[in-house]
Every structure is written in C-alpha cells, then in structure tokens.
C-alpha cells in the first residue's frame, strides 16, 4: 500500500516538478523502486490471501447470505428472512438429524475418547508398546471412504459380522445392521471409532509421558493402588490433553459426513442422517439452497463455539510450557 504520509516527509528537492502525469520522468525510476520496496513484503502474502479469501472466506460469507433466501440455483434467489431457520427447527427430519448428531457425539466420546484413554493407561507399562501402538493406529491412516467401504462389507447381510456370529453359534444376534434406526447409527459409530481410536490413544500416551515419574513413585510409596493412581493423579494431570481430545472429538462428530454418506446416504428413509448429511441432501439432491445454508450456519455456530473452547485450551497449554 503506498503511504501518502511517508511521501510528504521526504525532502522536497528529491522530487521532480509536478506535471499532469505525476512526478517528472527523471525521478520516476527511483520513485517506482521506492514504491516497490514498500509493497514488496505484501506480495509474499498475496497467493495465500487470494486462495483463502477468494475461495474459502468468500464462500463462508456467501453461504451465510444464501441462508436468508429461497434459492433453487435456477431462478434468482428471493429474500426469505428467517424462514429457512424456522422451517428447519419445525422439520422432524432436521430434529432427527440433530439427535443423530448428538448420538454421534456421545458415542465418539465413549468409544474413541474413553477407550483411547483406557488403552493408553494400559499400554503405557507394556513392553511391546511400540508394535501394538502402531497396529492400533494403523486404521487412522486410511481414508474415511476406505473405512466406509470396509465396514459396509462387515455389516452386509452375508458380511463379516453376521457370518462370524453364525460361526460362533450366536445366530440370534445376526441382523441387517444398517437398516433400522438407531442400530444403523450405532453401527457406523463403531466403524468410525475404528479409525479414531488410534490418534486419541497416542495423544493420551504423550500426555502420560509428561507426568513426572517421581510423582507416581511417591504416590506408590504412600500405598496408592492402580485405581487411586489413575483417578487421583493421572486423570487430573491429563486434564489439558483430555480437554483437547474431547473438544476435537465433539467437533469431528458434528461434521460427520463421509462415512454416513458412503455407507447409507443417510437412509433408509433418512433415518441415519447427520446435520452435515442433511445439508448436503438439501443442497445437492433437493436443490433447496436456502434451507441447506441455514443448516450449514446452525452447524457452524455449534462447531465454532467448541473451537473457541479448543483454542482456549490449547493456548492455556502452550502458556504452561
């Protein structure tokens, strides 16, 4: 940005006489050079700013605007005020989608988060730690789409799970896993946990390593058993990490899309939709852009609220170290 204040402070005799075309041509190269030097640092910002601003931030603003209109992508959008938001709140499919998303949130706190903590505490003192850790982490490298493909096979009628149940004589338990609610949502949470457990376990292991061993030793000398050690010492000291894992898991649950879309497309009968799936269906299957925008904005409000908690937790953490 050329700065007029700075120009006026320069000694006048350095400038050529003012002409219709600006400063006299004699001095032009130095002036251009000075200008270039001043804007040069900003040029490094430009590619990143254009990419993020032009594609991402523009989209956020536009989606927000769309949510207040009626728009089918063909006829021009009409202003609709809060109608889309009111429609969404009154819509039983939206309510079900919202409660499915809450089930996802709860399930993901129970399986990958609590499960990851449990595994980390057990693994911490096991000799073969590294190999086991790597193997448990392995599914996390796979794409959610790949995980969805694998678990679709696990859950089909003659799939891995039902065949295994028949083989061990538990035929009564075999069922179509992805057809009835809420079993289909729960089954997909298990599939998703297969991928999510490893990372949360690794984070808890990192957290456990930062606990000073003297503290544990001292507690042991005082006669604390494993249980007391866990509840009274390890868990409280893990709190910063726990906060991060919990918030990340909540944010992740609210954005669940790929797995559900590939495995059931939110069905049958829209019974396994999550908020992100509802948004996609409204936008790209039903072409109700305004309604989809309202769902996206509601979803974002929740996610951003949790992100602020997250930022505060991480900031606190880096302030400690």
């Amino acid at each position: 940005m050329p700065d007029t204040n700075q120009v006026s402070t320069e000694p006048l005799r350095k400038e050529g006489p003012i002409t219709a075309l600006g400063r006299a041509p004699l001095e032009a190269p130095t002036r251009a050079l000075a200008l270039l030097r001043k804007i040069e640092p900003y040029l490094y910002l430009l590619p990143a700013l254009l990419l993020v601003g032009g594609l991402l931030l523009y989209s956020v603003a536009h989606t927000f605007a769309i949510s207040f209109t009626d728009w089918d992508l063909i006829t021009p959008p009409r202003f609709a005020g809060l109608k889309n938001y009111i429609d969404a709140i009154r819509d039983p499919t939206f309510t079900r989608s919202f409660s499915n998303t809450l089930i996802w949130t709860g399930g993901s706190l129970l399986l990958p988060v609590a499960g990851g903590l449990l595994l980390a505490v057990i693994l911490e003192r096991i000799p073969g730690q590294r190999v086991l850790k790597t193997l448990i982490y392995l599914p996390a490298i796979l794409s959610t789409t790949v995980v969805a493909a694998i678990w679709s096979y696990v859950y089909t009628n003659n799939g891995v799970l039902n065949e295994t149940l028949r083989w061990v004589g538990l035929e009564a338990l075999a069922r179509p896993w992805l057809v009835f609610a809420p079993t289909n949502t729960l089954a997909m949470i298990v599939a998703s946990s297969w991928r999510a457990l490893g990372p949360s376990m690794v984070l808890f292991l990192v957290g456990l390593q930062t606990i000073p061993p003297e503290l544990i030793e001292a507690a042991k000398i005082d006669g604390a058993g494993e249980r007391i050690l866990f509840w009274r010492i390890k868990l409280p000291l893990l709190r910063p990490i726990t906060a991060i894992v919990v918030i990340m898991s909540v944010i992740g649950s609210f954005m669940t899309f790929d797995l559900v879309w590939v495995m059931t497309q939110g069905g049958p009968g829209r019974s396994s939709e999550t908020l992100a799936v509802t948004m996609y269906r409204q936008a790209f299957i039903m072409w109700r852009m305004g309604y989809a925008g309202a769902v996206a904005v509601i979803l974002s409000t929740i996610v951003i609220a949790f992100s602020i908690f997250y930022l505060r937790a991480t900031l606190k953490r880096s302030a400690l170290w």
Binding site: P41, Y44, L45, P47, A48, L49, L51, L55, L56, L57, Y58, S59, V60, H62, T63, I122, L123, G128, L132, L135, P139, I141, S143, T145, V146, A148, A149, I150, S152, Y153, V160, E163, T164, W194, P199, V202, L203, V206, I244, V245, F254, M255, F257, V262, T264, G267, A276, M279, A283, F284, A292, V295, A296, V297, S300, I304, S307, R317, S318, W321
Partner: protein, 285 residues
C-alpha cells in the same frame, strides 16, 4: 510371604493384560486382512469360501482392480489424486511459507491481522464452502476441471500450513536476520536461500499431512467434479461401495486396498512425522 505372593500375582496380572491386549490388537487389524484376502477372490469364491479362507489365485486382485477401474474409473482417480495431493500440498507449502515469512519477518502493517484472516480458514465446517464453490466453479468454468480441483485443494491446505510456519519462523527470527545482514541479501534471496532451507522440517511434515489429507478427501471430489478424468480416487471408490455401490465385494476391496497404498507407504516411511503430526495438530505449538 504376603509381599512375595503379591509380586507373583502382579506378574501374572501383567501377562494376562498383555495377552488380552494382543488378542484385542489382532481383532483390531483383522478387517485389514479380510480386505486383502477378499480383494484376491472371484465374486463366487468370495460368496462361497470362508471369510478368512485363502484365495485360490492371488493374481485375481489384478482382474479385480482392472474391472473396478472400468466400472468407476479407479485408475484415472489414482492418477488425478496423485496430481492433486502432490501439486496441491507443494503449492500450499509455498504459498503459506512465503506468507508466514512476510508476517513473521518482514515489515508489514498489522501482521497479526493478516495471520488471523488466513488462519480463520481452519475454523469453519466444510459445509460452509460447498454451495458457493459449486456455483462459482460452474459460472467460471472451473467445475469438473483438474485445475479447479488443484486450486481448491491448495486453498484448503494453506491455513493450517501458515499456522505451523508462522510459529516456526517466529522462533528462528534472530538467526535469519543476522545471516541475511551478513550476506546483504534482498528479501527474496533471504526467503529462498536462508529461510526455506532452515524450514525443511516443518515443510516436510506439512507436505506429508496435507498430501494425505488431499489424498483421502471424498466430499470436495463429490461436489466439484463428475467425470472419470477429474474425480479423485476416494470419490470413485465411493461409487463402488456402500448401500448404493455398484461393485462386487472383491472389486470394492481391491479398490479400497489400491486407494490406500500411497498413504500406507508414506506412513511407514515417515512414521515419526505422522505421529508428531497429530500431536502438533492438536497441541498448537
């Protein structure tokens, strides 16, 4: 006496825990073995033989990959995704490192403001991007083009990269300014010859994480592309699998396996960076 028994008891407990843990881990990775086994069978063999039965002819996997390619363009998808993941993450690393260089080391006004603007790209759910991007891409002719996909993937990777680079650059500020003033280098020379070589570690780490993110993406391939030539591999794979998939189980599993190979190789080659990655991702350091 009591003391000794409890020690023996503890050792026993430990072995029991270890045994249970090994059992759990085996069950945990069994689905991966099933994927590999089923991808090598014919559909009939898959339906009739046991799930863990060995395939009659392992070379069947090549047939399955070929027919999966024909059905959903897995082969084209692999090539497209390779381009997106490689070029997209390199472009993001370059754009983010130069922006972070400007923010952390050059004299600009409101550096923190510019940082926040770019970094804010990480906070929104992807659902906020879909409709405007789809509309924009349709109207400017970027829809269903490889260039359009590349542009988006570069953009989505920038915010996290700038976060890591900025932190790193602030840490090495002093050294760089000293080295640059000794050299009498211009700001571009400083960036190219001093800053970038010193930032190899975060650049490699970011390349790996962003490469696998782009490689694993399904949603944006679904929204911004449709033809076999442009669609990334995960979006193609989704056409084979799930409730509405049109592939047989061996085709699905062969597709899933092939689509996972690049990230698996990366993981085993650079395991440290991956594990470090999730810690960095969350710790915000």
């Amino acid at each position: 006496m009591v003391e000794r028994r409890s020690i023996r008891q503890r050792a026993l407990d430990r072995y029991l825990v270890l045994a249970l843990l090994c059992l759990f881990t085996t069950a945990w990775v069994t689905p991966l073995a099933i994927v590999a086994l089923s991808s090598m069978k014919t559909p009939r063999e898959q339906a009739q033989s046991g799930i863990l039965a060995l395939p009659a002819n392992a070379a069947m996997i090549l047939d399955n990959i070929a027919s999966a390619s024909e059905l959903a363009g897995i082969g084209n998808g692999l090539l497209s995704s390779l381009i997106y993941a490689f070029v997209g993450s390199v472009a993001a690393v370059i754009a983010a490192s130069s922006a972070a260089y400007s923010i952390a080391m050059l004299k600009i006004r409101f550096p923190f403001f510019w940082f926040l603007i770019i970094y804010s790209g990480t906070i929104f759910p992807f659902q906020m991007y879909l409709m405007p991007l789809f509309g924009l891409y349709q109207s400017v002719g970027l829809y269903d083009t490889r260039f359009g996909m590349l542009l988006f993937y570069s953009a989505i990777a920038v915010p996290f990269c700038i976060f890591v680079f900025r932190n790193y650059f602030i840490g090495m500020q002093g050294e760089v300014i000293e080295a640059a003033s000794l050299d009498g280098a211009s700001s571009f020379q400083t960036y190219l010859r001093i800053v970038l070589p010193m930032a190899k570690a975060p650049a490699l780490f970011l390349f790996v994480t962003q490469f696998s993110w782009i490689w694993n993406d399904f949603l944006f391939g679904q929204v911004l592309a449709k033809s076999d030539d442009v669609r990334p591999v995960m979006t193609s794979l989704a056409m084979l699998s799930g409730a509405y998939g049109k592939g047989t189980i061996p085709q699905q599993m062969a597709g899933a396996l092939t689509a996972s190979i690049p990230t698996l190789i990366l993981f085993f080659a650079l395991q440290k960076h991956f594990m470090q990655g999730i810690v960095l991702n969350t710790a915000g350091e």
